[in-house]
């Protein structure tokens, strides 16, 4: 069964690569022959920008191998990075929104004076010596976030290709708060009959030692009945 699925997967991947290569070739050929300059210079949308940002900002490790645009939007929002009107998959990236997300990713938003005005975000970057004309140039100024937050301890996905296993190091966090993946894993259940035979290690507050019980005597010298 496993071999069958693996073989089918390999075949499908191979076929996909062939189809992908031929389609791309056709698109490039068509572009060279008759597409307008506007079509060739495709504008970047916010979905593509979000995919780019999660990689550069070090957020990919919180996401599945191939995250959807919405996966990227959600984790960027959880890290307080979003355009003025929120994320939209198909909206073209504007200079104002690009400046805004770059400043937010740099953690410098408190230094922007008039935050409702897109120009203020652009001006702030220019005044900081960050000049950019393209998205690539803007992204080049970014580094992984110093304290990224994401789903580490608790992942509710039920998808076998993105679920979290039942095991995780104990210092993990859930969106910034310390939370453990509960590790109930045990090779056996302890039964009551086992209890006297296995090691007890919890240190409970000890009880004060009591004197040994007194032996009742009838009088005279101790030990003489």
């Amino acid at each position: 069964m496993k071999r069958f699925f693996m073989s089918m997967t390999m075949l499908a991947v191979g076929a996909l690569m062939c189809v992908g290569s031929s389609s791309a070739f056709a698109a490039e050929k068509g572009g060279a022959s008759g597409a307008s300059a506007e079509e060739q210079a495709k504008l970047v949308n916010e979905g593509e920008l979000a995919q780019w940002l999660v990689r550069v900002l070090g957020l990919s490790r919180f996401l599945p191998a191939s995250p959807t645009d919405l996966d990227c939007f959600a984790i960027l929002m959880q890290n307080n990075i979003m355009p003025r009107d929120g994320w939209s998959q198909e909206r073209t990236v504007t200079m104002g929104n690009l400046a805004r997300v770059v400043v937010l990713a740099l953690g410098k938003q408190s230094e922007v004076e008039n935050q409702d005005n897109d120009e203020s975000w652009v001006d702030y970057l220019k005044s900081s010596g960050i000049d950019f004309g393209t998205i690539g140039e803007a992204i080049d100024n970014l580094e992984p976030l110093p304290q990224p937050v994401g789903h580490e301890a608790i992942v509710i996905s039920t998808d076998p290709l993105s679920k979290l296993s039942r095991i995780n190091p104990p210092d993990n966090q859930q969106l910034g708060a310390d939370l453990s993946t509960f590790g109930r894993i045990s090779s056996r259940i302890i039964r009551r009959t086992d209890l006297p035979h296995i090691e007890q290690i919890i240190r409970r507050p000890g009880t004060a030692p009591r004197p040994p019980p007194m032996t009742p005597t009838t009088g005279g010298h101790p030990g003489v009945i």
Partner: protein
């Protein structure tokens, strides 16, 4: 163990060599070393039902990050060794663990892409206590997860993905290695369609095989069929929902096949520029935590809130609830444990306050709470 080391080292080396093969002029590189020192308090370090033991913990983390952003390729590597010390956790008051992550993304053409993700964890589960007795002590483990997805964009709105995943878990010592070492193989296909700018639909098919190395009776095969919806409800509210049917067949003929619905939902909401709220809930059949069971019905949920108190001070809150149901008909044929079934509940809460001294230095304080209840221990 040797296999894991070889896989991890091979992938890391291969990715870095592939990255360096590209023209340096097209490369944006960044390398960071980060240091993080955390102090926290945990109310239940042994994860017990009763007689909980609290402890302060000190966590020292070093983190090495490398990003290579090439014209068509992105490589991100991360390695984080961590040292942990508990003031009141006998007999083992220290842990040393390793985390390594690699992300590789390449666009063959504008339509065809490959994403790989490698996750390696070498760590230790904390001691597990049951009614004052040690139920788990030596539990060093190595966990490796390799994910790969080919994505092909059929049109601006439609995308198809083929993915595979290989998971390995190995404990260093018996008896855990005998009962819990496993390999999990998963493959699947997804068709995703952007219905509207705010709405995406998907259908998916998955196959998963769980193979326990020694205790083969716990092994199983599962087929999943699911549909999903992703929605941008408003500029500050996004969410996704996915559900379907899972058919699970166990290798042990004593345990019958199991069909079950599965589903998960997740929401992220920003009520103000300073506040972020995220919540989620998922239900499915899952690998069993407790021997002799081969499976559990698991409900898992969480909610978290983060709030910027000032430009430098952030507050993080998180809570989670997990309910695990273990059925006697999904237990191995162990004559000493016939007819045992029950539920386990785990409630966790956590708060962390973080003060940013500067972009590279933070002061933090945290508290962590856990409450655990089990029918299984009560019935034995």
């Amino acid at each position: 163990m040797k296999l894991l080391t070889t896989i991890g080292a091979g992938i890391l080396t291969g990715a870095l060599l592939a990255g360096s093969a590209f023209s340096a002029s097209e490369t944006a590189q960044s390398f960071q070393v980060k240091n993080r020192f955390r102090v926290g308090w945990d109310n239940n370090v042994y994860e017990t039902e009763k007689d909980t033991q609290d402890s302060f913990k000190i966590i020292e983390e070093l983190e090495f990050l490398l990003n290579l952003d090439l014209e068509q390729t992105f490589i991100g590597a991360r390695y984080r060794p961590t040292f942990m010390y508990w003031t009141d956790r006998d007999p083992d008051d220290t842990d040393f663990q390793h985390e390594a992550d690699l992300v590789f993304s390449h666009n063959f053409t504008p339509r065809l892409s490959l994403n790989l993700k490698e996750t390696l964890r070498i760590a230790e589960l904390p001691e597990l206590m049951d009614r004052g007795n040690l139920a788990r002590q030596k539990s060093d483990y190595t966990y490796n997860l390799l994910d790969g997805v080919f994505g092909y964009r059929m049109s601006d709105a439609t995308r198809v993905e083929l993915g595979g995943r290989y998971t390995i878990l190995r404990y260093d010592e018996k008896p855990f290695s005998d009962t819990d070492d496993y390999d999990i193989y998963a493959v699947g296909a997804t068709l995703r369609h952007q219905l509207q700018p705010e709405t995406a639909l998907s259908v998916d098919l998955r196959y998963e095989q769980t193979e326990y190395r020694v205790l083969d009776e716990r092994s199983s095969d599962s087929i999943f069929g699911g549909v999903g919806l992703e929605q941008i409800f408003s500029p500050n509210l996004v969410g996704s929902i996915r559900g379907g049917i899972q058919q699970k067949s166990f290798d042990d003929s004593h345990i019958g096949d199991e069909s079950s619905p599965f589903g998960d939902i997740s929401l992220t909401y920003l009520p103000s520029p300073k506040t972020r709220i995220t919540g989620g809930l998922g239900y499915s059949l899952f690998e069993a935590d407790v021997y002799p069971f081969a499976s559990q019905d698991r409900l898992l949920s969480y909610v978290s809130l983060s709030h910027d108190l000032t430009a430098r001070v952030q507050l993080f809150l998180a809570g989670s609830y997990q309910k695990s149901k273990y059925h006697s008909d999904q237990a191995l044929n162990d004559p000493e444990l016939v007819g045992i079934d029950g539920e386990e509940d785990v409630v966790q809460g956590s708060a962390r306050l973080s003060y940013m001294v500067n972009r590279k230095n933070y002061l933090e304080a945290s508290i962590q709470y856990m409450d655990f209840a089990s029918d299984l221990s009560q019935r034995l």
